[in-house]
């Protein structure tokens, strides 16, 4: 097996161009589980844990190899909140934002935040250059994205105006080491509330009708919140599986979203 320790982006891009079937390794928290449990043997691995460009972070970008441990201290409130709920300290020291995006699990805790703030995914190919992809065009199915075989995810690109008011919550079977049954981010910007949910569809989704409804209201009464929760529960598309049922996920979606609206209002 061919192993490339890519300390800078040029090395990673060359390696991917030369061996497109090679797999990127960041924190290893997904790939190594597959290797260990299904005895999957990658043809090639390009390690980016120490890739300099991917470790950078500023007000407009989060490098793909930035770990959850670092994001626990993010100035973006909901991002810091969700980072702290991921796995365990050991998982957060290894797992990365870019890995969450690349794996594209329906339960990925970073994904509703990306959807709520309307972030974009930056990808680069050595031969075809850079693409900036809106999140809604990037995630297309369960663990399926529009990333091409010769491309690497380099960063999550943030909009110029980031909502200051933003809240995250998730429901799971316990506190630590839990995969979300439902996760939710609500942000409140100049254009009103935006509501994104995960674990309730093949991809992260926005509750567009619920957003429209609540943003048309001048004051948020109990009755408005109840109707808002009902719309959120109606809009999500969950399944029943080993973690929960469709009915519970719909109910929890409405409860979490309306609770987070209240938190945004009282923050």
């Amino acid at each position: 097996m061919h192993f490339v320790d890519a300390r800078d982006l040029a090395v990673a891009l060359d390696a991917k161009a030369e061996q497109p079937e090679a797999e990127f390794l960041a924190g290893g928290t997904d790939l190594m589980v597959e290797v260990n449990l299904s005895h999957h043997r990658p043809e090639g691995v390009i390690a980016v844990r120490r890739c300099e460009e991917l470790l950078e972070q500023d007000s407009r970008r989060i490098g793909a190899a930035v770990t959850w441990a670092r994001l626990e201290r993010s100035p973006h409130r909901a991002l810091a909140q969700l980072a702290r709920t991921i796995g365990s300290p050991q998982i957060r020291a290894a797992g990365t934002m870019g890995g969450n995006v690349a794996t594209a699990s329906p339960a990925g805790d970073g994904l509703p935040w990306i959807a709520a703030v309307d972030a974009e995914i930056e990808v680069v190919s050595r031969d075809r250059g850079r693409r900036i992809i809106p999140w809604s065009d990037f995630f297309v199915g369960v663990k399926d994205t529009t990333l091409a075989l010769d491309e690497i995810i380099t960063a999550v690109v943030l909009p110029e105006q980031m909502p200051v008011s933003q809240e995250f919550a998730k429901v799971g079977q316990r506190n630590a080491m839990v995969i979300a049954t439902v996760n939710c981010v609500v942000v409140r910007g100049d254009d009103g509330f935006r509501v994104a949910l995960g674990s309730v569809a093949p991809v992260p989704i926005r509750a567009g009708r619920a957003e429209q409804m609540i943003n048309a209201e001048t004051s948020i009464s109990e009755a408005v919140l109840e109707e808002f929760a009902r719309l959120v529960a109606e809009e999500v598309r969950p399944i029943s599986d080993h973690r929960s049922t469709e009915a519970y996920r719909r109910h929890a979606s409405g409860v979490l979203a309306s609770r987070l609206v209240q938190r945004c209002l009282s923050a």
């Binding site: 097996m1 061919h2 192993f3 320790d5 390794l25 924190g27 290893g28 928290t29 790939l31 190594m32 589980v33 290797v35 260990n36 449990l37 043997r41 990658p42 691995v45 390690a47 844990r49 441990a69 796995g87 365990s88 300290p89 050991q90 998982i91 020291a93 290894a94 506190n175 630590a176 080491m177």
Partner: protein, 153 residues
């Protein structure tokens, strides 16, 4: 491939398949069986090691990614045959039943106390949220770490 790393302060090399886990190589190639293999999916923390200053699950670290890395395993916690205060504290409180999780708890505690000699109870509980003891011997372990934090040395 040949990987060279600093292991418990010593430079070591091993001939490995790059996709193997650091845990496997520690146990099978480098004669360090202290890190335990239990879940192999990052759930249990019994293989915790300190990699370049971070406490991680060695079952989820690919050995090919360890070139020039600095790693401390449970075997590197006691210094020159003297038990580390963490190990003393666990002994004092009887914080071991079957012992399988113990190496992971020792490494996680060493990492926690190196960063903060006086963690409060919430910080201790949070630090150990990735270490599972199936004998459920958490009470004695928490008492050991609380005592150490109060001592603050």
């Amino acid at each position: 491939m040949i990987v060279t790393l600093t292991l418990n302060g010593e430079e070591r090399s091993a001939t490995v398949a790059g996709w193997e886990s650091l845990l496997t190589v520690l146990r099978d190639n480098l004669a360090l069986p202290g890190s335990k293999n239990a879940c192999e999916q990052g759930e249990c923390g019994s293989c915790s090691v300190i990699l370049d200053g971070e406490n991680v699950n060695s079952c989820l670290v690919m050995i090919g990614d360890c070139e020039a890395a600095a790693i401390t395993t449970v075997e590197g916690i006691a210094v020159e045959g003297e038990l580390h205060p963490i190990q003393e504290a666990i002994l004092e409180e009887g914080g071991v039943q079957c012992g399988f999780c113990t190496p992971g708890f020792v490494v996680t505690a060493a990492h926690l106390f190196a960063g903060d000699p006086r963690p409060n109870e919430a910080a201790i509980r949070e630090a150990f949220s990735g270490n599972i003891c199936r004998c459920t011997g958490y009470g004695a372990l928490l008492r050991a770490f609380d005592a150490l934090a109060e001592d603050g040395s």
